[in-house]
Amino acid sequence: MKKIYVLIMVVFLLPAITIAQSISGKVLDQTGLGLPGASVILEGTTTGATTDMDGNFKITPVKPGEYILVAKFLGFKTLTKAVTVNAGQDLNIGALTLSEDAELLDEVVVVGYGVQRQREVTGTISKINGSVVQELPVPSFNAALQGQAAGVQVTTGSGLAGSSSVVRVRGIASISAGGDPLYVVDGIPISQDGFLNGNEGGMNSNPLSFLNPNDIESIEILKDAASTGIYGSRGANGVILISTKRGKSEKLKVDFNANVGLATPTARPDMLNSDEFLQLYQEAWENDGNVGPAKLPGNISWEDARQTNTDWVDEAIGLGVKHNYSLSASRAIKNLNYYINGSYEDNSSYLIGNSFERASARANVDYKVNDDLKFGVNTNFTRAVNDRVDAAWSGGLGAAMSTALPIYPIFDSAGEYTQLTNPVRDRELKDWVTTEYRSLNGISADYRINDKLNVRATGNYEYVDIRDDKFEDGQLNTADNSPGFADRNSTWINNYNYNAVIQYNDVINEDHKVGGMVGYEYQYFNRKWRYDQYLQSVDRRDQDYSTDSTEYRRGVTGLEEYSFRSVFARANYVYKGKYIAQGTFRMDGSSKFGPNKRYGYFPSASIGWLITEEDFMKNFEVLSFLKAKLSYGITGNANIPNNVWRQTWQTTEVSNPDDGYNGVDITYPTNLDNPDLQWETSNTFDAGLEFGILEDRIHGEFTFYRKYSTNVLMNLQVPRVYGFGSYWDNVGEILNRGVEFSIKTRNLVGEFKWTTDFNIANNYNEITSIGDYSEDAVSGGTNDTRIVVGSPVGTNFLVRYVGVDPADGRPIYLDVDGNQTKDWDPANRVAVGDVLPDVVGGLTNTFQYKAWDLSVLVYYSFGGKIYDSSSKRQLGVVTDWNMRPEIFDRWQQPGDLARYPRLTLNTDTYGSATPWINTDLWLHDASYVRLRRVALGYTFQESQLMGSFFTRARIAVSGTNLLTWTRFPGLDPEIARDFENNADRNMSVGITYLTPPQERTFNIHLNLSF
């Protein structure tokens, strides 16, 4: 039987062997060097080969016929060549010379409601490939934009798991309204409120953490009015468009990514130990004229204090472990393309008990019914679980840096937690978990009416369900004698939009190309919330909450809604392929404003000139591309709370015993109306020059802009005689002016490749008017940043500190006239600095040699100030706060020249009634240069993978925040602390108050494709 089988095989296969054909050749680069590892395939088949070390390839067997040969190599343009193979022929096609893919200018970029060719774009748009954000272990993709685009300042959130970053596009043009750019994911302006839970626990929520970075195909950052104008009322602070992946390859492509890493803090707080604390405390006591042993904080006896030496920082900090896995499949076949992904990550931070876990799934599917009609569906589902710990002012590491003294024990002699400040007790007796479910979905229909006209309709829906469950054991609330508290804050968001766009494109003749679109859009958003509290001794996290329970204590519910209705249009015209003009217009109506000012109108106009297309440039061969751009437009901001324009009331329901007064309901006004409240508007002028040199080996862009914002929305603190503490009005005016420069150079393009990306941006910011109000009318929360005319948004408004009087050791300040005084009085505050950096940018060098690649990203920020707000307690009046070792440099006896004044327990010694003595002693240079990321990777060649299951395999190791050069004496110069509201977020980046430092990570990445 076996012999018969072999005979049959020989009979059938022999002809094939004897008449086998082949195609051979060599793949070269432009310099004539062979390209090893290039792939050459026959289009529409799986037949192909990989070039050897000299660039040679041979495809065999090949049946006779006509083929399209496709040669590909990373970093080079794909080349196709038609070949005909005759029976019995061994076809040698000779050299296939690939040119480098430096021609970025024919790349398509996503713009609002459409795409444009890069060369015809007249706005200022930074495009970032999705791969850039995928290997960085960040809480959300926007943190990975740091250093990637000129004029985009990213301040990564703190080391807390899941923390949010602050992104500023071209400075800050808002005061009380949200100053973040608008985030649009696959066409839907997503909900991006970071204050759903305020700053509870010393952390704001991160509305962008739901998105799996592996799903991102590209990110386009729209910066000027020509590009953001199409988003009208919401474009003033820039727009960030996120496009997720879709199927592209005819061949099924499966990708698996795994990242595993460790996290530690970039800096570790150094606090006094017990002996040091007691020594300094006693010194302060005696300095104040007391005798005998000092009365210690918490009424602790000296004997107990001496026997205790708790290192609370050690108790708060551990080693974070990160896991991240993502599996995706994509394919584009005749009428159908799809991309599906499932991912899971579990990132614990260096704070003990703190982690962020996310599981997400996505499916993007396009189906082409016929040549004219296409449907698309995107759907994404995410479950994110944030295991919370208190931080900053709320406790945890913040307590370890402040009121958790080394003389306080964790446990008493009976082994019970002590009732003094005890972050270990608080952490262990509190179970705090925020669980978020979010789904983002879209459907689209594209219909081609004729060659010039098509219509696209899309509908998107976002659903968010957030549960914040906090259980506090009864031992944490001894004053209440309660068995414990179980709190649940629930939030549900429904956010949908739909739009219809009619697009027109026509090439009239060689000289005239016109295009345009008209669209209509409606967006509706609602947020429901509910707060429940139960008095009980066990965690209730896994139970449904029921108001019927006997343990039910109280509950609050609410709902808010807003909507936008918009019409918009864009017109493009290209003359002779070198003169480009574009106009956009948007009219927005919104429920955010009253009938008096409900509609806003936002036009923009821009022109571009492709200078290198001119005949007179033909002799400048070095200059391969040069485009000049000018734009002007008006954009707006409406990111304010709802219904602030009208008077509203609340009434209680007496059924709730907590409400009302004397068992009777109450009705009361909740808002001071302002029916003329209107859109904040920014008038932006932009001039840019885009260039390519040496066949685009060097490509760059230089831009100047001036953005003048008027009718700036401010939530003003008004005299209390108004009956309210604050109200909204359009008051301020702000100037932002700056230059941006970015350049990409391909320094080496041979076997050893070296690419450099560099960007730098300067922004000048100035508040030019705040009406008749004072500097204190809007404040950056508790951060002592104020609005000062002639100074930037986020000006440090502080009493000036001169030094220590060597005679008596007391601090000396300056009064408002510059005279020395020993009385600290906030009436003497002046503008002494600002938190905005002057220059920010990034430098990325990428090296590639054979299978190895090395990427080094350096981020830098120069200028601006850090206000180390907690220093005033860690290095000021001796209180119930622990102190930092720098305090050893203090005045001790007459004649001492010391950095810090005499130790005292009495605030009067420092000329104040409070230990919260804000002065510019705590103001530091915020400049820093940071080795943001180093990654070393090895990509297995196809030849190495032959015979294996995989078509691509890459392994890499990376580290983030490895080195920082700074003069800031505190923990970490990159600071985005917890904020109280949008005004605080706009004005107080760079203020630290017990803020956990950033994390340093070490990671291993694995990427497999098959």
Binding site: Q419, E560, Y661, T667, R720, G723, A827, D908, A913
Partner: protein
């Protein structure tokens, strides 16, 4: 096909357009036309005035005043409190800023009611009278509290032309200047005298304004101004009404309403308005913010004095000494703002100042003394001199109202009205800058000067 598709698109768009809204009624809030439709709605707004006013005299007004005095030790660690205690308050004191704001929220709501009640159809005259009378009572109470805490006292200048407070008698949207203290008192007294006999005799116990509450408040005001006969007259009316009897217990801060409460803040287990009062003082706490000064504790050195049981001394004489007070320890309690005890002691002292009827003075004082020491113990007699009676009535007054914020105003009266020399509070003169609270920075404007700082 193409036509059909376009028609579908057009239909969807037009249908959607018709459903779209650009205005939403707030779901968590009401619009004015929804909230204020009927006479009952107006009464709910009036109740909200009581509600917010209750957040000022539910202990806050009492212990801020007490912090200025010599009755308390330095607060445990609350810096806002310590600033007040140190007589050097800054305009950033958040606790005081929000406390100050509550008075003007109350006043705004009252003025808003008085300005707009006629826009509601069918409001009866009885309701209008109620709104006007109780509104004026609350407005007077708020203006008075702000005046006595944020301005130097009556008598600080001979004509009382020194800075008082912003008087708000109508709706405003612009900063107001400070009236003089004379004008401030005039406004308060006008509001009260307008309505003292118009208010009802009984109004849900003493939770809402009655004629007796207005008269008791007037008695307190007149007494502070040195208008002793006017104070006596008001006290007479209250005492002679027979509406109130002395609480048999020395502690009026219990869950049941004291029979001597003329006006009080209502508190329940669920709607506990006394929590702040309790939490600051609670003797059950290891480290209550507010404890009693040794100077004050030492005046209760008579073992017969039942009020001596209010104190829980810890580590007396040591560096970690604490003298806690258990007067406000109940889980929840009613907060008497005006009481018969005050009326009796006010009448007695005012009569002593005017050298009036000794029998009445002795009778009034002994009611208080015997309650504390027991029948017949430590009583005063008609043979006592006016000076001796004055010393004793002042001592009993300080003892009775410890923790209640009365002491500082008496000290100021001794200095400003009685012109007694050497009146000091913890070594600071009664009239130094820090002896009054500072306004929040929000008040500062071209027309409104904050209080001067330093000098204490």
């Amino acid at each position: 096909m193409k036509k059909k598709f376009l028609i579908y698109i057009a239909l969807v768009v037009s249908f959607s357009f018709s459903c779209e809204k650009l205005e939403f009624e707030p779901k968590s809030d009401l619009l004015t036309e929804e909230a204020i439709q009927t006479e009952d709605d107006l009464l709910l707004v009036l109740n909200s005035c009581y509600d917010v006013m209750a957040n000022t005299i539910n202990g806050r007004s009492q212990y801020y005043a007490e912090l200025l005095s010599d009755n308390l030790a330095r607060p445990f660690n609350n810096e806002d409190f310590i600033e007040v205690y140190n007589h050097n308050m800054l305009f950033f004191n958040g606790s005081i800023g929000s406390f100050y704001g509550e008075f003007y929220i109350t006043i705004f709501r009252i003025n808003s009611l008085l300005a707009n009640y006629d826009q509601v159809d069918g409001v009866t005259d009885a309701t209008i009278t109620k709104l006007e009378n109780e509104g004026k009572f609350l407005r007077a109470l708020c203006h008075y509290e702000v005046t006595r805490l944020f301005a130097q006292p009556y008598g600080y200048t001979t004509d009382n032309s020194h800075d008082g407070i912003a008087l708000v008698t109508e709706l405003v949207r612009e900063p107001l200047p400070r009236s003089s203290v004379q004008e401030s008192y005039d406004q308060v007294i006008t509001d009260l005298t307008d309505i003292e006999d118009q208010l009802p005799d009984v109004n849900d116990g003493g939770v809402y304004a009655t004629k007796w509450a207005a008269k008791a408040l007037l008695a307190r005001i007149y007494f502070g101004m040195g208008r002793y006969q006017d104070a006596i007259d008001k006290c007479d009316e209250i005492i002679n009404s027979g509406k109130f009897t002395l609480d048999p217990s020395v502690n009026r801060y219990t869950s049941t309403v004291s029979p001597e409460a003329i006006f009080y803040i209502e508190s329940t287990n669920g709607n506990n308005r006394s929590g702040g009062f309790r939490d600051q003082f609670s003797s059950n706490s290891d480290n209550p913010q507010l404890t009693i000064s040794l100077d004050a504790y030492n005046i209760y050195n008579d073992t017969l004095d039942a009020r001596g049981n209010w104190f829980v001394p810890v580590a007396l004489g040591e560096t970690n000494q604490q003298i806690k007070i258990n007067k406000f320890d109940a889980d929840f309690f009613q907060i008497p703002y005006l009481s018969l005890t005050e009326v009796l002691l006010t009448r007695a002292e005012a009569m002593i100042e005017l050298q009036g009827d000794v029998n009445t003075i002795v009778s009034d004082m002994n009611q208080i003394i015997e309650r504390a020491f027991g029948t017949g113990n430590r009583v005063v007699g008609t043979g006592f001199s006016y000076d001796a009676l004055l010393d004793r009535v002042r001592l009993e007054r300080r003892k009775e109202f410890i923790g209640e914020g009365d002491r500082i105003f008496q000290l100021k009266r001794y200095g400003a009205i009685e012109k007694e020399l050497g009146i000091e509070v913890r070594d600071n003169p009664w009239d130094c800058n820090g002896m009054i609270l500072q306004f929040p920075i929000s008040e500062k404007s071209e027309v409104f000067e904050l209080n001067p700082t330093g000098g204490c």
